[in-house]
Amino acid sequence: MNGAPSLHLWLIPLLPFAGFLLNGLLGRRLPNQIVSLIALLSTGASFVLVLNIAAHFSSLSLPYTESVGTWIQAGTFRADFAYSLDQLTLIMLLIVTGVGFLIHIYSVGYMAHEEGFWRFFAYLNLFMFFMLTLVLAENFLLVFVGWEGVGLASYLLIGFYFTKNSAANAGKKAFVVNRIGDFGFLVAMFLVIAHFGTLSFHEVFAQIAQHPELHGGFLTAIALCLVLGATGKSAQIPLYVWLPDAMEGPTPVSALIHAATMVTAGIYMTVRCHAIFDRSPLALSVVAIIGAATAFFAATVGILQTDIKRVLAYSTISQLGYMFMACGVAAYSAGIFHLLTHAFFKALLFLAAGSVIHALNGEQDMREMGGLRTKIPITFWTMTAGVVAIAGIPPFAGFVSKDEILYRTFISPGIGPVLWFVGLFTALLTSFYMFRLYFLTFFGERRGTDHEEHGHGSHGVHESPGIMLFPLAILAVLSVIGGWVGWPEALGGGDWFGHFLDPVISASHLSFEQMSVATSTFGTAATNVPLSEGSHTVELILALVSTLVALLGAFTAYLFYVRKPELPGKLAKQFSGIYGVVFNKYWVDEVYGAMIVRPINFFARVVLWWTVDRVLVDGAGIGAAAGATGLGGIVRRLQSGNIRSYAGWLAVGAAALLLLIYFGYHPFTQVAQIQIVRPK
């Protein structure tokens, strides 16, 4: 574009796809080393390409668009295989390829003894292909391809142990729930076509920018449909139910797909389409409320889970809720920033949890763990980095991004302070349940016994191999320093991250900034300085408060699970009612089952299967066949082959004709009217 050298963006998704094809088609016959080499090379090459782009990033004219070919051309409507690159895309690319590559490395060690090694890496590469397509796509349609594709890959990987019934069911559940969200996305696309006549991002956003009078109305409808899509993919209320069950998949999958990358697709899409959301305060409020509610709700559930991976799953839902909340108060850069840091520390937590599970030969129940601090020290130290980061203790990554979200929520007009309080309380819960996991796993005495179930063939608690510890170490370092790129100005930083994203975010981003600025009575030119000074004080106080809250959560967990381990049991008895509700995850699955799944099943069975399928469809087929048989049975008698019966029918027919004509019926009236002229 504009004479600039082509970046060959299409290569980035296509390399993992090549890896998928190679491993998927030939992997069964290849030794594990070759399979892992193919998978690592294809992902690593993508990562190198992205790094190369990042290195030249400042010299590019953005947004950079690259069209590989025309896909659909119908009348004035047109959709291309087009990729685009801007600051947001670059960050997502770095997360997806970087974290993806690390998790690929980890998987080589983790999956070493599993059946279907090649299948796992083929699916993993397929996922990378679709995720990169989603991130790079320049129009809604191509995003949708990636959107559906990652859902497919997620389904395949959740159900990786397909002989296990619960895994197969979890895969189906994830797929079906995601379909509901996809429906919303689809409707949003139809609405976009109907109102803008194009699906290209820059054309749609340019049209919105040209028409400042567009506000609410159909933009709200589009935004709400997109929100439905995002709640499905990013596991928000009401469609979050699939994510906890998705933990049936192998742990690296949980780390890559269900923590670091795929579940952030909804956030990414919301930020990408922020021009639409900015014009619809209603949709933004919906996003903010959904986010805050999910963050709080999932955090409460996370407190009482006993499966180490499920705690992390609910934690993921809760953190995604934070990102949603950030989007809802139009603090998009804060949302993406949290997405970035979350990708680091949640991938780390999942991989460390995987390492713990690996060490214990498949044990996932935290009640059976304990005292692992000295047995698996490297896992312990990396896990410490992750836990401290997510808990929001400075200066670790989670603190910076979470604090940014809380601050931006607090200063947003309307229900901002309420949302901030919910967020703060969630931060307390987050810190509590993460330290609960931490103390239950690594401190105290070992409660369970070793058992051989996972088939690793090794005995006792053992530290994971180096190939698994290397990604853990990298991610641990990133969890510590990853937040520094966005260190807030209030604490003496430059908020480089926020400014980096400015070109993407600020294009049509007016209403909320202006509203918050409008509280000042100073002239516009002089406003910025005193206001930002004031904000800095507020931000400092808020940071202090959230740090204290995080420490309080950690201390409570320490009290409950190290100092007085009998205390949680007592409290559970004392508040048995609410304990039961939370322990059973508010019976959401059961309520959904009774209110949605059961009626739909009933409808499907009675109306669709019995009535429509059996009676109408089958009935029509059977009826037609029976009718033809019956008619044939009658007509068959005429075709007896008996010559005299033919002759009989012939005679009867001739006689009937004669009689008819004799009694005045003239079928060929003109012929009958010919007068026979007697010659003279």
């Binding site: 007896s640 008996n642 010559i643 005299r644 009989g648 005679a651 010659p679």
Partner: protein, 101 residues
Amino acid sequence: MAVPIAYYLVLSAILFSIGVGAFLIKRNIITVFMSIELMLNAVNLTFVAFAHQWHQVGGQIFVFFVMVVAAAEAAVGLAIIIAVFRTRNTLNVDAVDLLKL
């Protein structure tokens, strides 16, 4: 005064009806065949009668055609009958209902 045409027509109708009746009733293929000849000749009789009545020779010529066709038919038909008898040892038309030998 010659014989009125109605007499010829009535005779022809009687012959034709006998032919039809025989065709339907009789089981022996030879007899069935003969009844066909009877019907053809009943028709020939009407042709000749009308030709005489209207003084047009076309009817008489047509009779020759019918006779030629009947002769050819007799040749083919008898050959078929012989073939059927050789394979089935019967001339009963009711036993020959498979539309093949």
